[in-house]
């Protein structure tokens, strides 16, 4: 078998692919955080819990209602988005005039509540979810086997990120959104319903988290705790990349996923901490983040 630096090439590409899959989740989640932060000036601590909710809804859908993967891919993000809209209307909207830290504290409380509820209902054990038939098996690329589902996760995530970028940067709705981010009062004076846009932005941002959750369902163990550890890594990703640009979030997310995957091959002990170490280095060299600007 061919080897690179003493590592079998199969294992290397396998981890590279896994890294890309994780990186896709980082990308979609940090994109959602960035979109929400841009509009609401709130860091959504509940993002991980809502990602978990997306995955749990997928599992519950199949287990109790017989809803398959494809319908879940549509319905679960909408469900999570609606939960998000309820959160925004009932709670977050009262905090916009206060220090941004209150938004973080409130969403932290929500994360605890959501996680605790699911833990109480379904226990901490992971639930299995089988890969949809269409994506069972693997492509033979000659030098490695590429599991079809992993390829799908990466493609679907990138497509969603690209679509988000397109909507925000190239459409009229996106132009309103950017205007409202830049100067909400002036935008409102032009007759655009800014509070409605804020509500929809939050719903959309957490919907993205729900979407990532559905994608993750067949690829990982589904459990109430799956979101909280992930979200801390995503925070580090956001600090590294800065929240200034959409493409920046995507590039940083994927890049860090790959680096993490490679670390698993060459220095397994550090694979859990490598993203945090990179964050520390970035803070020393470029405190505003790779794609960020100091405000």
């Amino acid at each position: 078998m061919t080897e690179i630096f003493g590592v079998p090439i199969q294992a290397l590409f396998g981890q590279l692919m896994l890294g890309l899959v994780n990186g896709s989740f980082y990308a979609v989640l940090s994109l959602g955080l960035a979109v929400i932060f841009g509009m609401l000036n709130i860091i959504n601590f509940a993002h991980g819990a809502l990602y978990m909710m997306g995955a749990m809804l997928t599992w519950i859908g199949l287990e109790y209602l017989g809803i398959g993967y494809w319908w879940s891919l549509l319905l679960a993000p909408i469900g999570v988005g609606l939960v998000g809209i309820a959160i925004e209307r009932l709670m977050l909207q009262w905090l916009y005039k206060l220090d941004h830290l209150y938004g973080l504290l409130l969403t932290f409380g929500l994360a605890l509540m959501i996680e605790g509820l699911f833990r109480d209902l379904y226990g901490v054990a992971g639930q299995p979810y089988s890969i949809p038939e269409e994506f069972a098996g693997a492509f033979n690329l000659g030098f490695m086997f590429l599991p079809k589902y992993r390829a799908w996760v990466v493609v679907a995530s990138l497509a969603v990120c690209l679509a988000t970028w397109f909507v925000i940067e190239k459409t009229r709705l996106g132009a309103y959104l950017r205007a409202a981010t830049e100067n909400p009062k002036l935008t409102q004076a032009f007759g655009i319903n800014v509070p409605l846009m804020v509500m929809l932005t939050y719903g959309f941002g957490v919907g993205l988290a729900g979407f990532a959750g559905v994608l993750a369902a067949p690829a990982t163990q589904i459990g109430p705790l799956m979101g909280s550890n992930l979200i801390i890594v995503v925070f580090a990703v956001v600090v590294i990349g800065g929240m200034g640009s959409i493409l920046g979030s995507v590039v940083t997310g994927l890049g860090l996923g790959i680096i993490e995957g490679m670390t698993k091959v060459f220095w397994p002990e550090a694979s859990a901490t490598v993203v945090f170490m990179i964050m520390a280095v970035v803070l020393m060299i470029r405190p505003a983040g790779l794609f960020g600007r100091e405000k």
């Binding site: 830290l101 409380g109 929500l110 109480d120 600090v239 859990a272």
Partner: protein
Amino acid sequence: MSRRVSIAYLIGLGLLLLAPTFIYPILVMKVLCFALFACAFNLLLGYTGLLSFGHAVFLGSAAYVTGHALKVWELPTLLGLLAGTGAATLLGWVIGSLAIRRQGIYFAMVTLALAQMVYFFFLQASFTGGEDGLQGVPRGTLFGLDLADDINLYYLVVAIFAGSFWLIQRTINSPFGQILKAIRENEPRAISLGYDVAKYKLLAFVLSAGLAGLAGATKTLVFKFATLTDAHWHTSGEVVLMTLLGGMGTVFGPVVGATVIVALQNELADKVGSLVTVIMGAIFVICVLAFRRGIVGESLALYERMIGQKGR
């Protein structure tokens, strides 16, 4: 300290000295450890305006180092406590220097991420005992007193708490504390007045980390073990909740908050199981939405309003 605070402090101290006659001392010691932890945290959040979301790591690292020093190196108790506190102070300096490079929300995220990194280190390192934790830490003796006796230990813990609380008050009311408040209120103005804001923030962070470490070291002595829970982000969230619930930026708020939360957890643990997390989350949400000044802050505001009405 103002006169009102001094009187409350002395009354509180008197109550603490009598407490073991009617309350289980281990429970009071647990409350005191968390109250010290929350007071240290309040120094940073309430008086400097910095929200650290990784403070558990200082509690946890000091707990481990003290445990290791007492159990493996067999150091005397006092040196064990100092070793733990020193380790947390050093870690506070490292994490603080990195974190103060970003402001506001980013500061919270950076501290959380760095704390998670240290958490993973503890999870993998051999001296922490991994998932099992560090068990069977001996309490040792102090000035010839056997600390294995809960009552002897109780008075040591009260002394540590009272001393640290006094130190925090002294800090808040010193010129240094006034500068911290100036930074909290308006950082650009503090900079334009010529203060080296980064230096003051770092000093506040290190002090807070060290005192949080002292709380962790004491906690190891009380429970005779150190576990991963101490360093977990849940514990970081708990200390935020204690401070928020009691009233951030108030003198006694963190103590009240810690008492309420520890008592609640103690009461609820057997009855509702994993719903405790849901209740903690709900308290968080209610505090942020309706109760931002916390128990002490709201009570003081109510009191001032009543006095004001009488005067009119």
